[in-house]
């Protein structure tokens, strides 16, 4: 599989403070890669290095097989879309006029504006002035702007942080559509449900280093505590360990017709993060 991003032993120092240390990962074409970590863990620094807004102190950051610094070239800029935590919009202009500017910059047809506004559920609001928009609406406009030009690689820094569940679902549908069309997505988020729903693989970043990396399902299995929770007809629950003794106990409950439900006790991604770092994600 073609590698879109290759990061090897990446390090970044701000003065004496180490923001990233020995960070290595790869992102394949068409993959949704989640970068998870609390504030200050180095997620945004990584995105800035990968989008040529910062230079690394050490290590390699390759995007489309070339050093990230080469993304400054206009042809390469067309291949990427970026949503950062502080993507400015022109407050005195309408949503349409803001996106029209970017149609001109990316050489995109104006008809694309309607498509992206549909994706973020803002089609009816296109004439609204940006200064009158809610925080959630602003977030959706910046998202629309990020994928206006159908980028091959999309960097999303907390894309749904200001959105309600209904609008988040619109975004997820849009991102799924982009993914189905082969767009590679590099996503940072605090939202574990979002990561589980969208990401093919996730990496846990803590104190500037990657603690764990892999597909969410695999990580949950790896950290599962090997027990089952059995809900019984008398309203109580029993936690039973997998194995011969547990199987006998479960068999007994079932033969006595006492079982209402049986659930595996897989941890959430949030639980795993707490387990390996000792702190919560948000």
């Amino acid at each position: 599989m073609e590698k879109i991003i290759e990061v090897k032993s990446l390090a970044k120092l701000f003065g004496n403070q180490r923001a990233l240390e020995d960070v290595s990962f790869e992102v394949s074409k068409g993959e949704v890669f989640g970068f998870l970590g609390p504030s200050g863990s180095g997620k945004t620094t990584t995105i800035k290095i990968l989008t040529a807004q910062l230079t690394q102190t050490d290590g390699d950051a390759l995007v489309f097989g070339h050093p990230a610094a080469q993304l400054k070239h206009p042809m390469n800029r067309k291949k990427i879309g970026i949503l950062t935590d502080n993507s400015g919009l022109y407050e005195r202009l309408s949503i349409f006029d803001n996106l029209k500017l970017y149609c001109g910059l990316y050489d995109v047809s104006l008809s694309r504006i309607e498509e992206v506004l549909e994706m973020v559920n803002l089609k009816a609001e296109s004439k609204k002035i940006v200064s009158k928009l809610s925080k959630g609406m602003l977030q959706r406009v910046t998202l629309a702007r990020a994928f206006l030009h159908k980028p091959e690689l999309l960097f999303l820094d907390e894309p749904t942080s200001s959105l309600d569940p209904v609008n988040s679902r619109h975004i997820y549908r849009g991102l799924q559509e982009l993914k189905d069309n082969g767009t590679t997505i590099f996503l940072t988020t605090h939202d574990m449900n979002e990561a589980e729903l969208l990401c093919d693989r996730v990496a846990f970043l803590h104190n500037g280093t990657i603690q764990l990396i892999g597909p969410p399902k695999e990580l949950r299995k790896r950290y599962a505590d090997n027990t089952l929770t059995v809900e019984l007809t008398d309203g109580t629950t029993e936690v039973i360990a997998k194995g011969e003794a547990g199987a006998e106990k479960l068999y007994r409950f079932m033969s006595e017709n006492k079982v209402v439900s049986v659930n595996t006790n897989e941890p959430t991604l949030g639980d795993i993060f707490v387990e390996i770092t000792g702190r919560k994600l948000s």
Binding site: L54, I82, Y90, Y102, L105
Partner: protein, 235 residues
């Protein structure tokens, strides 16, 4: 180096729409017209007095508006969006300078009518004013890039406004205070001297040295602006 007129025009169109809704900038652009009206009502003016109005338009409209536009882009973090787009540094600077250039020329033309300024050689003066406008746009761009907000920009530009509007008078003191000799080489002084020569019948062949000095100022200010812009592209 690539240059896409389409991208530069996209920035120009955006600025045009944005500027028409920006009361602060619109008000600033009108001030030189009031000055021209006031000076124009005083009867016949010397070339030095006429060029106070023109130099004021250059520093207040070309430099100050450009400085405010760039500073606002920085303050609202919209400049970052442009920097991360396919637009090159030259396209962004050209796109952002186009509207200021046209606005400045428009206001200078109206001011010239109001102060009844009729140059003996329109071609020479047109070239000199166009070059001066480019210099002041470069100055505004540079100052806008080194400031963090519109408020800060409006303070930082003030010394430059006085220097480039009234600084040509400094050259008159050069005999008593040699330090003022430097004022002779300022772009505004060069423009006034050039205009004076033109009124006495000078053509391109006679005033090329003045244009050359202005071009050196343009080159210097744009090299500075370009370098600062490149620095701002990185966090």
């Amino acid at each position: 180096m690539t240059f896409s007129l389409k991208r530069a025009l996209a920035i120009f169109h955006k600025d045009y729409k944005d500027l028409s809704k920006n009361m602060y900038v619109s008000f600033t652009a009108v001030i030189p017209l009031f000055m021209a009206l006031l000076y124009g009502s005083q009867g016949e003016l010397t070339i030095e007095m006429q060029y106070i109005v023109i130099n004021m338009t250059l520093s207040l409209v070309a430099a100050f508006i450009q400085c405010s536009l760039i500073a606002e882009e920085k303050e609202k973090n919209t400049l970052r969006g442009l920097m991360l787009s396919p637009a090159s540094t030259v396209e962004i600077l050209a796109g952002k300078g186009m509207l200021t250039f046209l606005t400045t020329i428009f206001i200078i033309v109206i001011s010239c009518f109001l102060i009844d300024y009729k140059p003996e050689s329109l071609a020479v003066i047109a070239v000199a004013i166009a070059l001066s406008t480019v210099f002041y746009i470069g100055l505004g761009t540079f100052l806008g890039l080194i400031t963090r907000s519109v408020m800060e920009a409006s303070v930082v530009i003030m010394p430059f406004f006085f220097l480039f509007t009234f600084g040509s008078y400094g050259a008159m003191l050069a005999e008593r205070f040699p330090i003022f000799k430097a004022a002779e080489y300022m772009p505004n002084t060069q423009l006034v001297e050039l205009a004076g020569a033109v009124q006495l019948g000078a053509g391109f062949a006679d005033i090329w040295s003045h244009l050359f000095v202005i071009i050196i100022w343009i080159a210097a200010v744009f090299v500075l602006a370009y370098r600062i812009f490149k620095k701002r592209m990185m966090d």
